[in-house]
């Protein structure tokens, strides 16, 4: 085991070392870092990383040149709260790996172990400028069939290189659900969810205080498995965030109170009524994940949904991450969602940050990605225009310093059927 891991690491290093040196020139660069926006600059990429960025960067001979022709370059887009990489067809459970929590493995469920870097969805998302996926596990089943579980498991981050080494991090957050769906499953009230959460955490603290008692069977019986009790330790210690789905203003306040009282690191997900308690969220320091398109009273817990939510939260000082729809097929929509937030009051620069820098910070990979600064992974996109516009497309996509092919199964289908040959079935054209 040790040997194979070492071998893998060695292989990964070799692959990175062999990556070519690339210079993206004549670029308008939105660095999201200390350099701010560079009107006309160069990004030098070496060994998979950003080696230099600035208005005047020396380009070594032999470097591959990508002339951006004045087009905008941003960090690669992050799709947060998605199953991209852990599912192929939403309607076919046998093709999906994002829902794995069971009675034995709930908080401990590690979605990264089911990730398929060769997923057919990944090139499709990449064509839309997405270079990283924050995979959030979901509770198995639909609606009431999700069972009496509170925790869906551990969030993973992958890059969209499609390489076997694309799983960059697991256990970046633990997923819990305090929505009306969870309330229905866990007792019938939003209150019962919070009580259950506190009881489960309390049990984990008790377990940690007396592991010997657990092993020798002298401790009181636990409702959670040993694996799950272990998985809750970093949450209790405030080392790993708890990503918790919550919607209604009153519930958001209660979740914040609980988080503060137990000294938890929280990420709030959903928060359609967040704008109504924006000052409380800002004061808590907890970041939020929002879908800016949500503006209908879909549930009684989200009656006051509105498109200005993201903008109002950001204006109050809340760190926001804009999410795509959950299903990985739609990961590429995340940049349009940021655009909708901008259309309804979010400053444009905040819209870009909400799909690059902010998710990297919130999910703990800011030292790797989310900005264009030396030392970071070279996840970069050259855009034909404003990245938040539908009429804009990526011209070049780099993941960890490697330029990605601008094609996917979808483009192959379009080519195959774009011009029909009356004498040959399309199946012979590939």
């Amino acid at each position: 085991m040790r040997t194979s891991l070492l071998a893998l690491a060695a292989f990964a290093l070799t692959a990175a070392a062999q990556a070519e040196t690339i210079a993206i020139t004549h670029a308008k660069i939105e660095t999201l870092g200390s350099a701010g926006e560079i009107a006309n600059g160069t990004i030098l990429v070496k060994d998979g990383r950003i080696a230099a960025v600035g208005a005047s960067v020396a380009v070594p001979s032999g470097a591959k040149i990508i002339d951006a022709g004045g087009h905008l370059v941003t960090p690669g887009v992050v799709a947060s709260d998605t199953n991209l990489g852990a599912g192929e067809v939403e309607g076919e459970a046998s093709s999906d790996d994002f829902a794995g929590a069971s009675d034995q493995i709930s908080a401990a469920f590690d979605v990264s172990l089911g990730v398929n870097p060769a997923s057919m969805l990944i090139p499709v998302a990449r064509m839309g400028g997405v270079t990283r996926s924050v995979i959030v596990p979901e509770l198995a089943g639909r609606g009431d069939k999700k069972g009496e579980k509170l925790f869906a498991g551990q969030v993973a981050v992958i890059d969209l290189s499609g390489s076997p080494h694309s799983i960059t991090r697991s256990h970046v957050a633990l997923v819990a659900d305090a929505s009306s769906g969870a309330a229905a499953r866990l007792g019938g009230s939003h209150g019962s969810v919070l009580q259950r959460l506190e009881a489960d955490l309390d049990e984990a603290a008790s377990y940690a205080a007396n592991k010997g008692g657990y092993e020798h069977g002298t401790h009181r019986p636990f409702t959670q498995s040993k694996e799950d009790l272990e998985a809750l330790q970093p949450i209790l210690q405030g080392k790993e965030p708890l990503l918790i789905e919550v919607h209604r203003a009153a519930d958001i306040r209660r979740v914040i109170d609980l988080g503060k009282r137990l000294k938890l690191k929280l990420i709030l997900n959903g928060v359609e009524e967040g704008w109504m308690v924006a000052a409380d969220i800002a004061a808590s320091g907890y970041p939020v994940l929002v879908d800016p398109q949500t503006d209908l009273p879909n549930e009684f817990e989200s009656l006051n949904s509105r498109m200005e939510n993201a903008g109002l939260l950001a204006a109050a000082g809340v760190k926001i991450v804009v999410t795509p729809p959950y299903v990985g097929h739609y990961a590429r929509q995340v940049r349009y969602n940021a655009g909708y937030a901008v259309a309804h009051g979010l400053p444009w620069a905040d819209g870009i940050a909400a799909i690059t820098k902010n998710p990297a910070e919130v999910f703990g990979f800011a030292e790797k990605e989310g900005r264009i600064e030396p030392g970071l992974d070279a996840d970069l996109v050259v855009w034909s225009g404003d990245p938040l516009e539908m009429l804009t497309v990526p011209l070049h996509v780099l993941v960890k310093g490697e330029e990605q092919p601008m094609t996917s199964r979808a483009q192959e289908l379009a080519r195959r059927y774009g011009t029909l040959d009356p004498n040959q079935p399309p199946a012979y054209r590939h």
Binding site: E88, V89, E90, G91, E92, L121, A249, E273, M276, Q293, T294, D295, L296, P297, N298, E299, F300, L303, N304, S305, R306, M307, E308, L312, V327, H329, Y330, R332, Q333, Y336, G339, Y340, V342, A343, G345, L388, E389, M390, L391, T392, V393, A410, Q411, L413, A414, R415, Y417, G418, L420, P426
Partner: protein, 497 residues
């Protein structure tokens, strides 16, 4: 029909009134079928509900245009919906109609002038696939009225009878520029029922919203949904071949039904002309077969949920077998694979820019679909099927447009706007009334803050029949449904706090 308001009609009206109470004893259909058909018809005292030819519009539109004045939108970039773009254009709305469209037009005396410089004007956006009202928000059990999933053939149910006019989604859709909607039953069944065309104005009743003179649609569904819904109930259909059997069986019955009524009407005419000594016996009316017969005589348009290209070809074969035309394939993820066939058959395709992969029959859905169809000359439509997406239909078209351009298919915006205006109008049978900015048509118009294909574009004003039904800067023109009234949130969700 000397006396259209017969005793039965009056009784039916009373039965409808009694529906306000807890337990109406008889529905209109019950009332009709419990009455004797033959003899009284022979005497010319027919109940209107018994003969489908006398009862084509039992739930008539009570729509009235809101008050309007003469308006001149001046200085805008205008996409006419006919494929033209007019820079610095003027659009004049008068008496609820489009009066004139062009560059440098004189403004009629007394017209309210709207400064549209730097802004865009398009025809009202038309969503040809909506479930607003039948799957209303909040998404609670009580509001789930879109699928009568109790039998694979429910051609007898009508979506308008499920429409809740207080669905807040109508208001959000209007804020997104939607002026006309086709509300369809769901896709659980081979025959889901009748679709209704609505003008997107606030109404107390569904009839207040009904588009005057619009034809009905018939929702049909291919593929996975019917076979899953009934297969999991261990009844037919549980396979695609079971689906096809179900369609064919129904069309045979519909042709038989239609023949019986034609024969009856022919014999009755002969009898009234003095031939024969006994009036013919009227066939028994069947509401399910009425709808299918309406398709066969061309008065009801087939709206066919169908993802896969090969299934579209099979549905077309069935249409030839029984003599009807499919107006549009909805969703149509694989339509690009059979674009030539669809062009030849003059069938429209409604699809998304972006959605794909949520089930196997949508796995080959590509962003280039609409552009490939458009290039092949197919009447191409971008639809929503969703209460959120319907608010952003031109932007969804922009996704498809961008994908087409990336694939080397150059389509300009003046053409692409047809995907959400003229083409859906054609597919649902109202192109003679709306869908373009041509003089004489209903003044259904949107004024946009920016290019409607931009993510930043917001509607500034929405006109239906010349009346301002939404104005982003005028709270008095921002309707709220009863459900939205008195909530803790902003009175007008679109307004800045």
């Amino acid at each position: 029909m000397k006396n259209p308001l017969s005793a039965a009609g009056l009784a039916a009206a009373l039965a409808l009134l009694s529906a306000c109470a807890a337990a109406p004893s008889q529905s209109m259909a019950d009332q009709s079928s419990s009455a004797p058909a033959g003899k009284e018809s022979a005497e010319g005292k027919s109940y209107p509900g018994l003969d489908p030819s006398n009862d084509t519009d039992p739930f008539p539109s009570t729509y009235h245009a809101l008050p309007s004045t003469t308006v001149a939108l001046v200085g805008a970039t205008v996409f006419t919906g006919t494929g033209s773009r007019i820079d610095n254009g003027t659009v004049i709305l008068e008496n609820g109609k489009i009066a004139a469209v062009g560059a440098n037009l004189p403004v009629p005396a007394g017209a309210k002038v709207v400064d549209a410089r730097g802004k865009y004007v398009t025809p009202g956006i038309i969503d040809a696939h909506s479930h607003l009202g039948v799957y209303a928000t909040p998404e609670v059990w009580a509001n789930s009225d879109g699928n009568e999933a109790t039998d694979p053939n429910t051609a007898q149910v009508w979506a308008e009878h499920s429409v809740w006019p207080q669905d807040p989604g109508f208001n959000r859709a209007r804020e997104g520029g939607i002026t006309t909607l086709e509300i369809l039953p769901g896709s659980a069944n081979l025959f889901g029922g009748r679709a209704v065309i609505l003008k997107n104005v606030p109404g107390r009743t569904a009839q207040d919203m009904k588009f005057p003179g619009a034809p009905y649609g018939l929702k049909m569904a291919c593929g996975e949904n019917p076979k899953r819904v009934y297969g999991t109930k261990n009844r037919a259909p549980s396979t695609r071949m079971g689906n096809i059997f179900g369609y064919r069986k129904a069309w045979i019955e519909a042709q038989d039904y239609r023949r019986k009524w034609d024969e009856y009407h022919k014999k009755m005419a002969e009898f009234k002309g003095g031939h024969g000594d006994k009036a013919p016996e009227a066939p028994k009316r069947d509401l399910q077969l009425d709808t299918l017969a309406g398709v066969l005589d061309g008065s009801i348009l087939v709206q066919n949920h169908c993802y896969r290209g090969d299934e579209m070809a099979q549905m077309i074969a069935i249409s030839h077998e029984f003599g009807f035309h499919i107006s549009m394939f909805h969703h149509g993820s694989e339509a690009y694979k059979v674009a030539d066939i669809l062009k030849k058959e003059d069938i429209c395709v409604a699809t998304w820019g972006e959605w794909w992969g949520f089930k196997m029959e949508a796995f080959d859905g590509i962003e280039e679909n609409a552009a490939l169809l458009s290039k092949a000359g197919v009447c191409t439509v971008i639809h929503s099927d969703d209460a959120i997406l319907t608010q952003h239909l031109p932007q969804e078209a922009a996704i498809a447009l961008a994908a087409g351009r990336r694939a080397g298919i150059e389509i300009d915006e003046a053409e692409a706007i047809k995907w959400v205006t003229a083409n859906p109008a054609k597919s649902i049978g109202v192109l003679d009334k709306t869908g373009t900015l041509e003089p004489g048509k209903m003044a259904d118009v949107v004024l946009w803050s920016a290019d409607p294909f931009s993510v930043y574009a917001l509607t500034e004003q929405v006109y239906v029949d010349g009346a301002v039904v939404y104005d982003r800067h005028d709270p008095s023109r921002q309707p709220l449904s009863d459900f939205e009234l008195g909530q803790a949130g902003p009175a007008h969700p679109g307004a800045q706090p």
